[in-house]
Symmetry: C3
Subunit: 677 residues, 3 copies
């Protein structure tokens, strides 16, 4: 199955009319019309509404809501509503709530609050999905099913411990294999019985928190297990939906770079990917670009839905800044540029009470359409209508791949040593940003992806090497490609055992180096790195980690300038087959990372045409009919001017753009250029 069948980029968002009297619904649809809102996500937290008691199902309110949306001609993304269980369920079955990392059984409250291994939760959530699908499957307005909501968190109860043991039995077969994998000869941990296994928590192996564990093996497996357990929850509901609705696509809303869930293990089970874009700040467009690319890469480049974004502000942060004029529009188009076939908001009408009262909405508490925010939403709605079906299903023609690996993320961050300041996401963001700033389209893919279609593979902090990945990376280089990797790559196998060979382990031949020792320093310590380009050399900063490289054939590209290892290599390039392997041994600053990445891209002629224009993001999508759409996204606050590198028509303004002629870009300007040459 594939994406929902829609005739244009879907536009709308979460809508909770159950919170309002019906006279408000009418006003809502009047405003939706004004804003060209064609899609509503319904029922995301409706469990208490649709099952008010153990034996009682009541769809009367949801019926009216769905009927109204249908009558109003909207596409419906209908949720199963199981993201929070009702109070009666927690009271009748206390084991349905979660036990936290501190070992505390929670009571009724919050959301995303169900133990994923609770039999009653599994049974009743599936039953709810079954009933929702059965009841509404015949409604042609249903464009997609939305299962649960933002799966995440973890549970450490006895039910989970028991399920963990089952999961381990399936993975390892024997206790001997498990003991070997967890390295239990260390610290007298040899297990003699499966029942001795506890959920790893603050009460067992951990100290200071979830990242500090005495045994990486059990903690890593619990992370894998918990991600799998929630996947089982999703699959429970998916199977129940399929019984009566075999053809409507099913999704759940992901959260981009979300550590607890290995989306690569989930993606095959979703018909299409959707995600909620709440960036950590309002000045890092590269962060969102990476998240979009990651989400697009989950299903091999298939477009995705932007399921949620705020039109104005969030509420749950310490500080919730307002999206400046033009920002919501710019970011919406950025999503489309990176593969979104829907642009949806949380939410359409603001709730009056509880914790999202101050989260922005298309329609605020005063219900006005004459606000700046509403006007910008309506303007975007009009633009998406104008665009029509052109972009639907269009693909990104990337020649660069960036490897993203939840196992490496987990393994790196739960390690003792060398430095707790090293964060996987920060390292990956820096390398992706370097590619992004160079204007090269990039796929963010799992380590199991087919790499044969890429000229450049960037693998930052690839701590864990599994399966035949080292060989496949070598093949990239053999046929003329470039592989870039960094410090702390190639350290451990899938059990988090150090490779019994020189660092960087199986990547050693490709990188042509050997690392015997490394230095970690406090964040304020800088070791300057001298980078020797073909042109003028530059000096950049490195921090946090400094591996000491002994070249085994590699050419030295950058050298440390300080400390007892001054003059030794910090960056190397190794010729391998017709291509090469690049190794960055130190925590380079963004300038350093960008310098290295730019050299690699240059070698393959992959630097984008507008790479020299500050703040100007470009992205390409190629429609199924071959139409090539070039998105120009100007993140700057000031007007800019540049020269068109290709010609075509801007689908938003209808203006013609001629190669070689000037383009003027206002602050936060967006062009969607159907390229014609």
């Amino acid at each position: 199955m594939n994406l929902p069948a829609t005739s244009k980029v879907s536009f709308g968002g979460d809508y909770n009319p159950a919170q309002w009297p019906e006279e408000v619904w009418k006003e809502d649809y009047r405003l939706f019309d004004a804003a060209r809102i064609d899609t509503v996500t319904l029922g995301v937290f409706d469990w208490a509404l649709t099952q008010p008691g153990p034996q009682v199902y009541d769809f009367s309110v949801l019926d009216r809501i769905v009927e109204r949306a249908t009558a109003e001609g909207r596409g419906i993304c209908l949720a199963t509503g199981t993201g929070a269980h009702p109070a009666w369920l927690a009271r009748a079955h206390p084991e349905v709530t979660r036990t936290d990392f501190e070992g505390r059984r929670h009571r009724f409250g919050q959301r995303h609050n169900s133990c994923p291994n609770s039999p009653v939760f599994r049974r009743l959530s599936a039953e709810m999905a079954r009933r929702v699908a059965r009841r509404y499957a015949g409604n042609p307005s249903i464009v997609a099913w939305h299962v649960g909501n933002e799966y995440g968190g973890a549970c450490y109860c006895d039910l989970c411990a028991a399920a963990f043991r089952d999961w381990l039995r399936a993975r390892y077969g024997t206790l001997d294999a498990l003991n070997a994998a967890w390295y239990t000869t260390f610290w007298s941990h040899t297990l003699g019985d499966w029942e001795e296994i506890e959920a790893p928590s603050a009460l067992t192996e951990h100290w200071r928190g979830p990242n500090h564990t005495a045994f990486q093996g059990i903690t890593l497996d619990y992370l894998r297990f918990m991600s799998d357990a929630m996947l089982t929850n999703f699959r429970d509901e998916l199977a129940a939906i399929r019984e009566s609705s075999p053809d409507v696509p099913v999704t759940t809303n992901f959260m981009g770079m979300y550590r607890p869930i290995d989306y690569h293990r989930w993606a095959a089970h979703l018909d299409f990917v959707s995600w909620d874009n709440y960036p950590p700040d309002d000045h890092s467009p590269w962060w969102m670009a990476l998240a979009h690319d990651l989400m697009r890469g989950l299903k091999d480049g298939q477009p995705f839905w932007l399921m949620e974004q705020t039109p104005s502000y969030t509420a749950s942060r310490d500080v919730n800044p307002l999206k400046r004029p033009g920002v919501m529009r710019l970011w919406s188009w950025q999503a489309v540029a990176h593969g979104a076939d829907a642009v949806l908001f949380f939410q359409l009408r603001a709730s009056r009470g509880a914790c999202e009262k101050y989260h922005g909405a298309v329609i605020g508490h005063a219900g006005r359409p004459d606000t700046r925010v509403f006007r910008e939403v309506a303007q975007l709605g009009a633009e998406l209508e104008r665009l029509g079906p052109t972009v639907l299903g269009a693909r990104t023609p990337a020649r660069v791949a960036l490897l993203f690996d939840w196992d490496s993320w987990w393994a790196l961050e739960i390690s003792d040593g060398p430095s707790r300041h090293l964060r996987y996401q920060q390292i990956v963001v820096a390398y992706h940003r370097a590619v992004w700033e160079a204007g090269a389209d990039v796929d963010v893919v799992p380590v199991t992806a087919d790499l044969s279609r890429y000229d450049v593979v960037v693998a930052p902090a690839l701590h864990m090497l599994k399966g035949d990945l080292p060989r496949r990376l070598e093949e990239v280089a053999e046929r003329g490609g470039s592989v870039v990797t960094t410090f702390l790559s190639g350290r451990v196998d899938e059990n988090d055992h150090a490779f019994l060979m020189d660092v960087p382990g199986p990547l050693g031949p490709l990188m042509g180096i050997r690392v015997d020792e490394w230095d970690a320093r406090e964040p304020e310590v800088v070791n300057p790195v001298h980078l020797q380009g073909s042109d003028s050399p530059v000096e950049v900063e490195s921090r946090l980690l400094f591996e000491l490289v002994i070249p085994q054939g590699a050419e030295v590209v950058g050298t440390y300038r300080a400390d007892f290892y001054a003059g030794t290599p910090a960056v190397t390039r190794n010729t391998f087959g017709a291509g090469d392997g690049w190794y960055v041994a130190a925590g380079l600053d963004q300038e350093g990372v960008s310098w290295v990445v730019r050299r690699v891209l240059d070698r393959h002629d992959l630097v984008g045409p507008y790479a020299d224009v500050p703040n100007l993001e470009t992205a390409v999508r190629v429609a199924p009919d071959g139409t090539r759409l070039l998105f120009l996204l100007h993140h700057g606050d000031e007007p800019a001017e540049t020269t068109a590198r290709s010609g075509g028509v801007d689908l938003l303004s209808g203006d013609r753009v001629t190669r070689g002629e000037p383009i003027r870009l206002g602050p936060r300007a967006v062009l969607v250029l159907r390229e014609t040459g």
Copy 2:
């Protein structure tokens, strides 16, 4: 009933002779004589002494203590001693201890440790109060009863959850009303049975801590409930005391701006207010001024007792600075200036062990009277003796009111969005300080107070609007007064539901503005605000929150200077009736707040006569006989000189002050001027 019947400002403090052999008592009274100490607070933590076992009451030691104090001619503030329960009670009834926010049942230890809804605590604490009162009521030296001690904290046990349900039943009547008030359609929270209600804690709705909740409704009600539950504890003892002592006034010691207890709901039940003054630092006299004014406002301007202050240093802070020479005296007079009819210390003799061993005392471990601290205490004692009855019962003739509202405090700080950096107390302190620096006497009053006697009403961060308050504020303006309010005012009703109208909700007509959106920024971000005065304009800083104001009739007084809303209003003034409404939309710095407040006070000719003298605080009390006392409190470290704006006699020095003549003020000087013109 009223204040204790005393012939002068009471002077003394907490005294715990049970910690000492009787030979020390004699020495104590010798030193009390030397310091003119006329009042002792006895028995504050005597429960284990007076009830050493479940069936055993033993007043023999307390008898001797009271007898001695009586014989020595001191006034006695006698405590019921229930601020900490005895160990045998916790062992016999484990439910008497508290369960904390993390869900952990505590065991015996600490103080303020009783579950307020524990039946055994309620029964035995009342019984203790009954016995104490019965035993000592006939002693004419008893000037006041002191119930419990510094009520506060919270409990989350099952007994409290059950009592919470009863409280909710009484408040809401039906579950439907409760569901509506808590907005439970959000996140599937609809309650079908009262028994589903849990105490809101880290195990239910909360994340990160007590201020982070998924449901503001339940959290807000639990705050109200817990304050009421402790009030019930106080009332239990009060009723038991009244049985045998109908005429001696009863109090408990409050703690100024103490968030957990809504003193406005308590005040009617106390005969007089007393409080413990432990300011957060030693360089913010305005903080104490506000706390005093708040305490005086609890019972409609009735004088209060300063029940505790340290003569030198505290012990429980990370850093416990020493009160510099003259500071204890200056702050004691500040208390009197703001309405205190007693000046008491914690404590008279220093304890040898446990956690207050290093808390300052009038008599230190060495027992010397020849210390600086003892000398200053004795000097103050002499001054108070000289003052005699003059000030007793005197009232503050304020024309300015500042609204202080626990509900707004709670609602603002438990909200998600717009900014966790906004703290109710800081905002209120800034506005009160502005009035204080302008030398205007100000009453700090509840939102239910009669506002008809004020020319200016300042209502900072009045997040929640209840009852007819909006109308009463309009009436202030209609008759020519000024109302000042700020960002985040008028947002929610008593259930913490956003008003379904333009911000600032029901305050909109009075303020003549409308706010559609707002921006929050990290603390380091400054937006300069240009204030257009009658004279020269000034530029001040604003931070944290920036509401975007659309005037609906208001005049623009200040404008933002930066960001996309540069040039739009940050401060407005709206003519309303014969008066006006002022709105401050941004987090102005102190200079900005003071500028606005000074303009408002100027309009009503309320700026004090010494407002231009730095560090010179003034306060007025008018005695029952009409005598007008002007307190001049010089908080500066350096000598200052100014011109007398009125004449009279300084009651401390006996010096005559003549209007128009110079006054010389040494560092930390105090004058109590009986004004004669």
Copy 3:
């Protein structure tokens, strides 16, 4: 009994061949040979290996490991392996795990995880020690028994509470005595039954953490009790070993300045002291010097073993820096210079998995001997071989003693007031560093030590005074010596009761001062102190605490320069008998501390010959045959040159050094000079 019988400084470390196939063992010994490794510590965490089930003991693997080491001619330090209990034990006896400070019973996991008062742990750990000793006692390669590992932590379970009550009964005899000691008249805490006593934790007397308690008495006693309880665990195993091995010395590895365990109470029960040196950073050689001196002082100057150090980096820190070239060697020699008769590493071969995977090892994951780290280890091995038996048993001829007192450490840091920023260890380090920089050998000794052999006794932050210590300090001065003490000394007796006399309590006569009050300030507040030397005066900084001194005969050496106490004494010297007492009333910076200490040492002609050479540490050991070894340890990164103050032969290079001739010291140079004049 005494130190292990060895023929030279033992060299080697922890070795865990059970983690490896036997073919690796062979390679290990080949590399041990190359590095002159002569000693292996075996079996430190082998419990799960040697007792795989409740009724099963299996020594087959350990037999092979011991056999191999024996066959290879190594000395063996054989562990009982009880530092972590096996999983089956935790499952069969859940009470064997610890309950933490938060009151949470832990489950199986981590190490150092046994409740010290669990009967089953006590029984089975002793039985394991018994069986290990019985099995291997006949092997002459066993040079020492190693009991448990790094004893520490705490448990708060009901078993511990019961044992605590027994310990208290033994200490106090009666509840009355206990009530008096804990000052329970305060806050209604009088205990009427032993069963009312709880383990003091977050659920009873504590707030914020282990250092914040309402009752210092119970917390202090629990610290003493827990240290004693673990000592009982050690003694259980010691007694079991003695049954079959009366002559082989027994140790356990200490951790230097480790707060939870009062090593002074332990030391008499060990045959020799050993410790693990993991300094908090890599640029504070004085920190290690103090720790070595403290360890040497535990058994009255007897040499100790350096049981663990890393050859390169740790893993458990947030940042784990690499030991620079020469550092491991320099620090190893520093250990020897301060009394170590063994230099051992953790560990010989790096583990592949779990939390010490990235902890440095002599043999890394790649198994290479051609790494920098291995080469430096081998070089050190060669040097130690060259040194031979010369240093064994040699003693430090110190004339200076520094008092180190766990009771004062605890009492100071669990006090409320005057400042939480004052840390005992930092204060002691500053005073020891001053002596160290002055080149004077110093013994760090308990307060019960014989002080008659010292000319100078330094007692920083000697908060608690017990027994006849004040008199013995006076005797030091009476016979011409100097006693130096500081702020917060002489405050409390052994029950943490304030002395009922002027501060500094019983030290008053010796110091000739009186302190009535003190000021604490935030860390950024500086009060300059003027120090009046014989030569030119200097001005230094003081922070945190400022006691106000009223001289009672003492001469003023330094005065405050700021605040209302400007001009009053900050440092005093009191002539007492033929000697003097020095009092430092303020938190002087290092320069100030060093100035005072240098004056005191000067007076006794104890400043070392190289005190003027920056970064050059000196230490003397005198061998049993009277040979005097002068260690010159150059901690600088740059070469230095100085003049020899004595002549002799450098035992490492064989070079002759002539008094008055230049010595050239490379970066991190070490000389071991057999002095000949």
